[in-house]
């Protein structure tokens, strides 16, 4: 079941109508039934997987607390099960292809096993979420739960099940466990958030997605066409992914839950570190807490003090841990080398940014004037990253990076400028919202995306007008080419 379908609208309306008439425990039962229906709608067979993940992590956490002497074994059992499940369903084909290709380099002919493995939607998200629970129990950040129903709701909670944000047990489980009360103010904010999400998906992402798909379908795009396509994809992926996150947060709010913000206007970032504080925040913090920190800690015990390759020990540790974390993060996105390279590219940007920051730190007055250049530079570097992300053929990435604007014909130049402007035209609402948040005082800027309930008449009127305009825009401008949410494939 996808958010932008009539089926989901009906499903959600019925769920909400029943939900607020039930006592707390039955609310959770309903949530479980709704979540399993939502997920099983895609394929009933997927339910076995999500149940298996929940079952393993529930008992692993119980084991960690009940048998402290074996806590490490229970933790590894959980990690291996989750990573194994993910590895088999997501990376088996990738692994097999690479083994066959590597063997061919040595003259051995291996035949690829003819197994078609269907990637269960959302598996990357819920395995990470579920795994974080056992790690948190192991670290003592939370305690093992003894209510299996609550655990099942925590893993399968339908608003964010297939494309995040990835929630932590310390955040979501207490919300599952405590009583929830209907708040009309919260529902009003949620409605606006959902409308904004649908607007971003149907009007912005799907329209610019058509441009990006057309350009990336070209066998040999020229400089102008290529970068117009990359810009369109840059807008598409942000509008698409953040739309899902907004709809997820909005639907969760209707049910009395607060999901974390997953985006904070990433295209206003002025550097790589700033970008990763703003993009897919829940995944970035997941990798930071469960991969980067343990890796840094492990490396710090092995790395010698003093300089090597002209770098201090702390920078060497940071570089190694960052690169490895981002390579893994890239691989998490998909079973293809371009994602791994994309991860490595961003890891490298972070390392360079850290090294240059420790070498040269401009004065505050200078920094103020540098900011527009930093923003433009980071936006350009982000687009190079999106080229790598979008282009699955490595030879094409290499070719594309060496394209010169002087090789284009006049028609290609004009067509490229045209497509860029068209994509920009559709993206204007995104820029307006981001710039508003950046430059307008926070209480006004929060009109679209607020957490605090407020019933001032003027504000409600403004929100209603905004919702009406968005609804009208969706009716008139939505793309007839409906594309799936990009992050569904991950």
């Amino acid at each position: 079941m996808i958010f932008h379908s009539l089926t989901f609208v009906c499903f959600f309306a019925v769920t909400v109508a029943l939900y607020w008439r039930l006592p707390h425990r039955w609310q959770n039962v309903l949530l479980l039934v709704a979540s399993y229906t939502f997920y099983g709608w895609i394929h009933p067979w997927f339910l076995a997987l999500i149940f298996a993940t929940t079952f393993v992590d529930y008992w692993s956490a119980v084991g960690i607390e009940r048998w402290p002497a074996h806590r490490r074994r229970f933790l590894w059992f959980s990690i291996v099960s989750n990573v194994g499940l993910l590895g088999f369903f997501k990376y088996f084909g990738f692994f097999a292809d690479n083994v066959v290709a590597s063997a061919a380099l040595f003259g051995w002919e291996l035949s690829r096993p003819m197994v078609d493995i269907f990637l269960p939607v959302g598996i990357s998200f819920y395995t990470f979420q579920s795994m974080s629970y056992t790690i948190d129990v192991y670290r003592g950040h939370t305690h093992a739960r003894h209510g299996f129903l609550n655990m099942m709701v925590f893993v399968s909670f339908f608003p964010h099940l297939v494309a995040g944000p990835i929630m932590r047990a310390t955040n979501l489980l207490p919300q599952v466990e405590r009583e929830r009360r209907f708040s009309a103010s919260s529902a009003r904010d949620a409605t606006l958030l959902i409308a904004w999400g649908f607007f971003k998906k149907l009007v912005i992402a799907d329209n610019v997605g058509v441009i990006a798909n057309k350009v990336f379908a070209l066998a040999e795009p020229d400089f102008y066409m290529l970068w117009a396509g990359v810009f369109a994809f840059c807008i598409q992926i942000y509008a698409d992914f953040s739309a899902y996150a907004d709809i997820a947060r909005g639907t969760a709010k209707w049910l009395g839950f607060d999901l974390v913000h997953n985006f904070d206007h990433p295209y206003l970032a002025t550097g790589p570190t700033d970008f990763w504080k703003r993009w897919n925040i829940s995944l970035t913090t997941w990798f930071r807490d469960y991969v980067f920190f343990p890796l840094s800690f492990a490396l710090s015990r092995r790395v010698d003090e003093g300089r090597r390759f002209g770098l201090r020990a702390d920078l060497r540790i940071y570089a190694a841990a960052t690169l490895l974390t981002f390579l893994l993060s890239g691989l998490w996105h998909g079973a293809s080398w371009n994602y791994v390279i994309w991860g490595g590219y961003h890891g490298l940007l972070l390392v360079i940014a850290r090294a240059s920051a420790s070498a040269w730190r401009p004065r505050r007055r200078v920094r103020k004037y540098l900011r527009p250049f930093q923003w433009a530079g980071m936006f350009a570097l982000t687009n190079v990253g999106w080229l790598i992300f979008r282009e699955p053929e490595l030879s094409m990435i290499w070719r594309d990076l060496w394209l010169s604007p002087f090789q284009s014909t006049q028609l290609q130049h004009q067509a490229g400028v045209y497509l860029f402007l068209l994509a920009f035209l559709y993206s204007i609402p995104l820029w307006v919202q981001s710039l508003w948040v950046r430059f307008v005082p926070s209480d006004l800027a929060a009109a679209v995306d607020r957490d605090e309930p407020d019933v001032r008449f003027g504000r409600v009127l403004g929100q209603g007008a905004l919702a009406g305009v968005m609804f009208a825009a969706i009716l008139v401008l939505r793309s007839y080419t409906s594309l799936d949410f990009i992050y569904f494939q991950f």
Partner: protein, 376 residues
């Protein structure tokens, strides 16, 4: 210190009375606290629903508000349309071909009409429309071929899987405008049979209430043309930019080869032949052919092979094809299934289900060799 029991007795009703007042006040305050947010939520919903009605007002001030009724009112709202290509009727009358080949890019990449004419020694006219489907083929046959009054030896249709019994597939005004008359009651009746579910009803209701399709009809072209002025400086280049871009940059030769086909596997609903046949253009197509004494031929193309094998077919698809063949042959049409032909290996496929340009002659020859009865 002792307290007078009488004073206690006097105090209790006073306290009780005070408590009930407090309860009432608290309840009223709770109600007020609930009423305002609920009212604000309702106000938001009402504004969201009412404001888009302004689109009707926009239409009242623009020419699009006075558009004539669509030729398929069950599917499309009134809006500007591209003209019917009437010159095709005259063209067909003048050429008077012996064979016509109708289809989408499946036919376009499989049949070289000049080579087919050479092989058969008779005139062949292709009616290829990329990304078209049965509704377009039906209208092209009715409004061009039948209307021209010619009597070809055969009209050959190329199709994939379930396409002949799904008139809603690729029901796109961009294609249909060229072959549709002012009214198309038969096709509209067929489409109406599909437009009965909740989805279509909600869609139709929204469309009627807000009239957004009329706004879309003038606003989208305006948006799409707006950047042209900035992209091209000379007026001539501005006028031609979009056409040249589509024809010279995004043409088939300029696109990458992709293994994935442009249509996926059919769901079970689409493969229910008995249910879908009366709701398709096929009976109308065969009726027209009978009335005009023309033989129709249907070639089912083989989808992209998997390795060295023909692609797998689900039992439902096999059953669907069996029934389709039976039905067509019972109604005097010719049916040929390419599926499993050893001379259609993976190596001759380009992207998806398309055949490589240099193998077009091979597949044309194959058509003649495999169907001698059709070209006798």
């Amino acid at each position: 210190m002792t307290q007078d029991p009488g004073s206690i007795q006097q105090t209790v009703p006073v306290v009780a009375a005070g408590a009930s007042t407090l309860d009432r006040q608290a309840a009223a305050s709770r109600r007020r606290a609930l009423v305002r947010p609920v009212a604000s939520l309702l106000l938001l919903a009402a504004l969201a629903a009412v404001l888009p009605l302004g689109l009707r007002a926009v239409n009242a001030f623009t020419a699009t508000g006075k558009q004539p009724e669509s030729y398929l009112p069950s599917a499309f709202a009134p809006g500007p349309r591209r003209p019917f290509v009437g010159s095709a009727v005259e063209g067909l009358r003048n050429v008077n071909p012996a064979y016509l080949v109708i289809g989408d890019s499946m036919a376009g990449t499989r049949v070289d009409h000049r080579y087919l004419a050479k092989l058969t020694g008779r005139l062949v006219v292709p009616i290829y429309e990329p990304a078209s489907a049965s509704a377009y083929w039906y209208l092209a046959y009715k409004n061009w071929v039948v209307a021209s009054g010619i009597r070809p030896r055969a009209v050959i249709f190329y199709f994939r899987d379930w396409m002949l019994t799904d008139p809603m597939f690729r029901l796109n005004p961009q294609h249909l405008d060229r072959v549709a008359l002012q009214r198309e009651p038969e096709l509209d009746r067929i489409v109406a049979q599909h437009a009965q579910g909740t989805f279509f009803r909600v869609h139709a209701w929204l469309r009627d209430a807000y009239q957004y399709d009329r706004v879309r009809a003038w606003l989208l072209p305006l948006l799409e043309r707006a950047p042209v002025a900035l992209a091209a400086s000379r007026p001539k280049a501005r006028r031609e930019l979009l056409d040249r871009m589509n024809n010279e940059i995004f043409n088939l030769e300029g696109l990458r080869e992709m293994a994935a086909a442009d249509i996926g596997e059919a769901d079970l609903e689409r493969l229910d032949f008995d249910r879908n046949l009366p709701r398709s253009v096929l009976p109308e197509l065969l009726k027209l052919a009978r009335e005009n004494s023309t033989r129709l031929a249907f070639i089912r193309v083989q989808r992209r092979p998997e390795g060295n094998r023909p692609p797998r077919q689900s039992p439902e698809l096999q059953e669907y094809t069996r029934k389709l063949k039976q039905y067509l042959e019972a109604n005097g049409a010719y049916f040929h299934d390419e599926w499993g032909d050893p001379e259609l290996p993976l190596s001759i496929y380009r992207d998806g289900d398309h055949i490589r340009r240099d193998k077009e002659k091979h597949t044309t020859e194959l058509l003649v060799r495999r169907n001698p009865g059709l070209f006798r």
